[in-house]
């Protein structure tokens, strides 16, 4: 234990990754509740593939990766949230766009010859969280928290019954766009640590675990946030102990175990 505290407090890159991870876990778990309930669970996966594609294009053309990936993912997210279920079934739209973006990203990386970066984008790593990433994730976390406090009832209402909200004069478009953009930003930042393949686990697992046991939106939202933070801490500590395991995979497995525990708890309750 002493060693771990020593590691976190004495190595800048570890403390950076730890703080950024906590911030991203909190954002992802809060946003995850409404995403899962709206049957858009695959959106995190889709967005991570899109931002992988965007980062690869940025690397190939020499743009700053985040400056290019953030707006393009936000745009794609708006498209997925707004169009999903209208013009096309949401799941097929996500599948189509995400595999397209992934393929484009792979071609770009192979073409530009920077193949070594591919792994760190796909699997994520402790070492890739920069000072900028940390600052951005803390700001993002603040924004997500403020939005959830101020728009909590509206987020509930839009998720539960968008038609009712629209018909009775709520600004549904604003809330939907806000959630879409915040989700995209969370995915792009979280990808550094968790990897493009695993970031969506931060979005879906805590909400699904919380929904096993809790029955009101407020309780599910709070519990989801706590599960996510606890799972992140455990997963992060384990990667420090067994330093061969990538952080993202470890956190995902802890989240999976949490889900099983909550599932068993719900079975026992009945």
């Amino acid at each position: 234990m002493k060693e771990i505290i020593y590691l976190i407090s004495n190595y800048d890159f570890i403390s950076r990754a730890f703080l950024a991870g906590l911030a991203v876990s909190l954002c992802a778990s809060l946003l995850g509740v409404t995403i899962v309930l709206r049957r858009l669970s695959m959106i995190g996966d889709g967005l991570s593939h899109i931002s992988f594609g965007a980062m690869a294009i940025a690397a190939a053309f020499g743009f700053a990766p985040l400056k290019f990936a953030l707006p393009s993912s936000a745009l794609a997210s708006l498209l997925l949230f707004r169009l999903g279920g209208r013009k096309m079934k949401g799941d097929s739209l996500i599948a189509m766009i995400s595999s397209g973006a992934l393929a484009l990203g792979i071609i770009m990386i192979s073409y530009s010859g920077s193949g070594t970066d591919m792994n760190s984008y796909l699997i994520g790593s402790l070492y890739s969280v920069s000072q900028n990433d940390l600052a951005f994730s803390l700001v993002l976390c603040g924004v997500v928290l403020i939005c959830f406090i101020f728009f909590y009832h509206r987020i509930f209402s839009v998720t539960f019954d968008a038609d009712f909200s629209k018909a009775t004069g709520s600004n549904v478009g604003f809330i939907e766009n806000l959630l879409a953009v915040l989700t995209a930003l969370t995915v792009v930042i979280g990808m550094r640590l968790m990897g493009a393949l695993l970031i969506s686990s931060l979005i879906v697992f805590p909400a699904l675990s919380a929904m096993r046991v809790f029955k009101s939106f407020k309780a599910v939202t709070l519990c989801s946030a706590i599960i996510s933070l606890v799972s992140f801490c455990i997963g992060f500590l384990l990667t420090l102990v067994f330093d061969a395991i990538p952080t993202g995979a470890c956190i995902t497995v802890v989240n999976l175990i949490m889900f099983v525990l909550f599932f068993l708890l719900s079975v026992k309750k009945q």
Partner: protein, 232 residues
């Protein structure tokens, strides 16, 4: 000036015209019942009236004094709601959001109105329950309570009695006619025509891509139901 006036309205659903040349006038305080077989565009018409869908022909005029925040709406249940973790109070209180602008929290007067309406619908004992654990009839009453909380001038109901048992149906009509007599305008789709026309002041009967009847409910009972030999 009427509250809502539709002239030669036509609407398509999934590329097919389901409503054609429908015209009607709704005055303040009217209780309009919309009747018709499945697939005649009743729900689609309500979606046009609530601005969830656009009409693709004809005109639809709303009175200037009718704003969206004055509307209470009971839509049909969606898939998402079936396993949604929501407290009964959370659901009903969301009725007030439309008129709240950017106010983040509910006011005391709103929670008071919530208790009054829950009492009226006899669902006070459900207030601590989770929405998806309720029976179909209880869920319908919760959504009705939400619509009643939201309605200031106009109440739009899409098959509000489909999951209710017969005594609850009678209570429902009693509450709605009381509201209507106090000046609330009500538009309702119902399969339970025999009951509905007794309370309604006007009837709009939609047929396969044409309008079969629009007018007072007395006329409707006299001419239409008899010539068809009773309803369904």
């Amino acid at each position: 000036m009427p509250l809502i006036e539709a002239k030669n309205l036509s609407v398509s659903y999934a590329g097919k015209k389901v409503i054609e040349n429908v015209s009607f006038k709704i005055e303040e305080g009217d209780f309009l019942c919309i009747a018709g077989e499945n697939g005649t565009g009743k729900t689609t018409l309500l979606k046009v009236l609530t601005s969830l869908k656009k009409a693709d022909g004809g005109t639809l005029h709303f009175n200037k004094n009718l704003k969206k925040k004055h509307i209470g709406y009971l839509p049909q249940q969606t898939d998402v709601q079936r396993d949604f973790p929501a407290g009964v109070k959370e659901v009903i209180l969301s009725a007030f959001l439309g008129g709240m602008g950017f106010m983040p929290f509910y006011r005391a007067s709103q929670t008071k109105k919530l208790s009054e309406i829950m009492e009226k619908l006899e669902i006070t004992e459900l207030s601590k329950k989770c929405y998806h654990e309720l029976s179909g009839g209880q869920q319908q009453r919760v959504l009705l309570a939400r619509a009643l909380c939201a309605a200031k001038k106009l109440l739009i109901l899409d098959e509000p009695t489909s999951a209710l048992d017969s005594s609850a149906v009678q209570d429902f009509y009693r509450i709605i006619s009381e509201l209507s007599s106090k000046g609330m305008t009500v538009i309702m789709i119902s399969h339970d025509i025999e009951n509905a026309v007794k309370y309604a002041s006007k009837v709009l009967h939609l047929g396969e891509s044409e309008m079969l009847y629009f007018g007072s409910s007395e006329e409707y009972i006299k001419s239409f139901t008899k010539s068809k030999g009773g309803e369904e």
